[in-house]
Amino acid sequence: MSDVKIKITDREGVLHEVDAPTDMNMNLMEVVRSYELAPEGTIGICGGMAMCASCQCYVKSEHELPEKSDDEEAMLAEAFFVEDNSRLGCQIHITPDLEGLEVELAPEEG
């Protein structure tokens, strides 16, 4: 089994349950883009280098995620709408451990 189920609440508050492949070297930001859950050009602007916060999301489930890198920490320190459970989607790789992950996309920066 190479897919995990992930629940993603989009910026309009709509819940989507999607299958995310674990064998395609994908991250959460790319999953959101592949299902077009946020308009193109409003998410993943820097391409996944932790250099913008357009893929910020709030982690709602209790999954243990990998530690934030210094780059992600630094970006979240300057991003807006940051909460304790904020992460950058581009830094979360889709692995089998993420089965059942629940996230909500943060609002778009003005």
Binding site: M49, M51, V82
Partner: protein, 352 residues
């Protein structure tokens, strides 16, 4: 008025390579970019990061790629308007376009190529009520003339290099410098972090961390900034003359979206069956800023689009001239500066 054949908006890799392809067709180019240096994202955001999918380069640093492109286009003597954003476009009676920047610089060309990438980089603004009311009345996002802060009470917010560097610089100029950052940790050159520590110890910089600016107050101009520490709900009132939020830059499609071009998915729709022309004849869009079925935002795709676009531009500028594409290996490269590069001629000589 700056006159050219192809006016390129955006000096990223796609815009720069356009100069080369246009040059082979004897067309001159001028580039406009909002950033102060050429190279776009490659130079501004990730100059030290490697790219692995430029054909023929197993690995190249983004900054190095820009340097190489600048070297490659040098013989074609491109003009640059840097640090200015293309704001408006007007079509003249002769069918040519005039593009005016936010600083009023005017450019005239029969062909406009928008190679704007993600758009122009604009300062990221904190989400605060009344923010726009105090812009230029105490709030600025870019420090142009440090002298205006002499003997002023200045509050800087941010945790990166520019927040650190300006705090250090203004510590000697302003009467009071306060630096507010959401974390205790700063991300910057080690020297800068240590210098701020030193200035803090000397009482020359008032450091408030982890904290955030939560409100702005004032009548005609900014008078007071309210700061709240993350670990303490009490509000700290600070009387200031200036508030400078330094939260980096983010790209915005900006004024180009008002030019009457067809926009889809925050990008400019183009004709990918032919020449990457937009819905306005004579205006092309190439590289990351355009969209069409199957579009991929890759530098290598931008190079391809630039090449086809130049052929179309040539026909538009010289509708009656006959031309076929010529390989550089065959034709060489003749610069506008008189330089000529060509393949060495084979020797024809009998061997006895």
């Amino acid at each position: 008025m700056i006159k050219t054949d192809i006016l390129i908006i955006g000096a990223g890799p796609t815009g720069l390579f356009t100069v080369f392809e246009a040059g082979l067709l004897q067309l001159k180019c001028h580039l406009i970019d909002a950033l102060p240096q050429p190279g776009g994202q490659c130079a501004e955001i990730y100059p030290k990061k490697p790219i692995y999918d430029i054909p023929g380069f197993p690995e190249v640093l983004a900054g190095q790629l820009v340097d190489n492109l600048m070297e490659q286009i040098k013989p074609f003597q491109p003009g640059f308007t840097l640090g200015e954003r293309a704001d408006t476009i007007d079509k003249l009676e002769d069918g040519t376009f005039v593009v005016t920047t936010n600083k009023g610089t005017k450019h005239n060309a029969p062909v406009v190529a928008i190679a704007g990438g993600l758009g122009s980089f604009e300062p990221r603004k904190p989400q605060l009520e009344n923010l726009s009311r105090f812009e230029d009345k105490g709030i600025a996002y870019i420090i142009k003339e440090p002298e205006i802060y002499r003997e002023k009470k200045v509050l800087i917010a941010g945790g990166g290099d520019s927040a650190l560097d300006w705090s250090i610089f203004l510590a000697d100029v302003a009467s009071e410098v306060t630096l507010v950052h959401r974390r205790n940790e700063f991300r910057g050159a080690l020297d800068s972090v240590e210098k701020v520590q030193q200035l803090k110890n000397q009482g020359k910089i008032n450091l408030i961390t982890p904290a955030e600016v939560v409100a702005l107050q004032g009548k005609e101009k900014l008078e007071k900034v309210i700061v709240r520490k993350t670990d303490n709900p009490d509000e700290i009132d600070l009387e200031v003359d200036n508030f400078i939020p330094l939260f980096g830059l983010s790209p915005k499609l900006g004024p180009i979206s008002e030019w009457g071009l067809e926009i889809e998915k925050n990008a400019i729709k183009v004709d990918n069956t032919l020449d990457y022309q937009t819905n306005i004849p004579g205006i092309y869009a190439i590289g990351d800023i355009n969209t069409y079925p199957g579009k991929l935002k890759l530098i290598l795709c931008g190079f391809h689009e630039a090449t086809l676009m130049c052929q179309s531009a040539y026909q538009r500028i010289f509708p009656d001239k006959k031309y076929v594409m010529k390989y550089t290996t065959v034709g060489g490269v003749t610069g506008f500066d008189g330089s000529k590069k060509e393949a060495p001629k084979a020797v024809v000589k009998s061997i006895e």
